[in-house]
């Protein structure tokens, strides 16, 4: 599944870039994240509880790693999640662009989904992926204010 979209932050590029290195703020980008702690450098691990429509309270162990960091322009985010309902595995290439006092994030995520979520949820995966990423970025944006 490919999710390609953008988000306009009400903060400048360095703020957005720096914010996303902070696990507390990064956690907001993944809606439902309960905990996210640094494992080492830019590798993080935690727990996420996802509720979307028919899916309620599905627990996932998540791992996040930020790589290919080019401050303050771009980075790659590797995400893994594993739970009883299935798993998610993927990468998102993120680019930040100056828009005056604002910052435009352009992202393209390539996500593989497995297990029950994939086998019965296909109809909604696209929408859920899009909605969750936008919801997450909105939460990050609020955090940055």
């Amino acid at each position: 599944m490919i999710i390609q979209s953008e988000y306009l932050f009400d903060a400048d590029r360095p703020t957005v870039y720096a914010g996303l290195q902070n696990p507390e703020i990064l956690a907001r980008a993944l809606p439902g994240t309960q905990t996210l702690e640094i494992v080492e450098g830019t590798r993080y691990a935690g727990e996420m509880v996802v509720s979307v429509g028919p899916v309620t309270a599905a627990r996932f162990e998540v791992s996040v790693e930020l790589t290919d960091l080019v401050e303050p322009e771009s980075f790659t985010m590797l995400v893994g999640g594993k739970g009883k309902a299935g798993f998610v595995d993927g990468r998102a290439d993120v680019r930040l662009e100056d828009r005056g006092a604002q910052c435009l994030m352009v992202y393209k995520a390539d996500l593989g989904v497995g297990g029950r979520v994939a086998s019965v949820g296909q109809r909604l995966l696209d929408s859920v992926g899009k909605a969750m990423s936008q919801r997450g970025l909105k939460a990050v944006d609020r955090m940055l204010q």
Binding site: S51, V52, G53, P54, V55, T56, A57, A58, K84, A85, R116, V117, V120, G121, Q122, R123, L124, L125, D126, S127, V128, K130, A131, R135
Partner: protein
Amino acid sequence: MKPAPFEYVRPASVEEAISALTEGGYAAKALAGGQSLIPAMNFRLAQPAVLVDLGGLDELRGIHPRDDGGLVIGAMTLHREVEHSSLVAEHLPLLAEVMPWIAHPQIRNRGTVGGSLAHADPAAELPSVMQVLDAVLHVQGPDGVRTVPIDEFYYGLFTTALEPDELLTAVEIPPLPAGSRSAFEEVSRRHGDFALAGVAAVVQEAEDGTVARARLSLLSVGDGPVLAERAMACLAGRTLTAESIREAAALTSEDLDPPGDIHASAEFRRHLAGVLTTRALDRLRA
């Protein structure tokens, strides 16, 4: 495919149901007809700790006429009751027209109007139909009763203005203004399947034959019911002609950002939305 263990509550009143939901918080789920929730539970995608069965709330059942020709439909009214209601057939032909498009008879025998509206599945027919009918939703919570106009009810994917401890109790539909005509169009793989795309349309004609007001809502092409606002605006004040319809359909398609799935790509959905909008509006030409 057996559900995880859960606690089952069958309240005798709306108040009791609300307090059960309040107590259960996010771990509680209201059970209406169960046509989406029960499969999700059997797949163990939904694992509510408490299931609050609204099946005993007769006060939420029934179709009640308003003096002005509008209707109030209780949230627990079955699809089939709406489908076979002479009141609905007489006052809201659009609602009568859409009912056979909702899944299969077996599902309509159990599924409820309120369940469908509150579940907010983007492929559901009723949210779009209620949207073009300017429905108002009656909501009750621990702090009392409130009403929400349909345009403010849907927030996004499976998300509505309902709080976890609130219940949708009824949907109130005003009478269609004089000079109004309505149409519904949908394409699905097999009859009864989730729509690949669909559209509900109401057009109110002014005395001079131009469009006084148009309402177009699409389903299965977004996060929920999608109002085709630019298309609606472009029709206002014009007559329905091949030209204006083509323009409205083009705007409808253009404004969508539909999801793709294994049955229909985003591009196919966008295309279908335009085709169906054209077909619906064609039917509404005088």
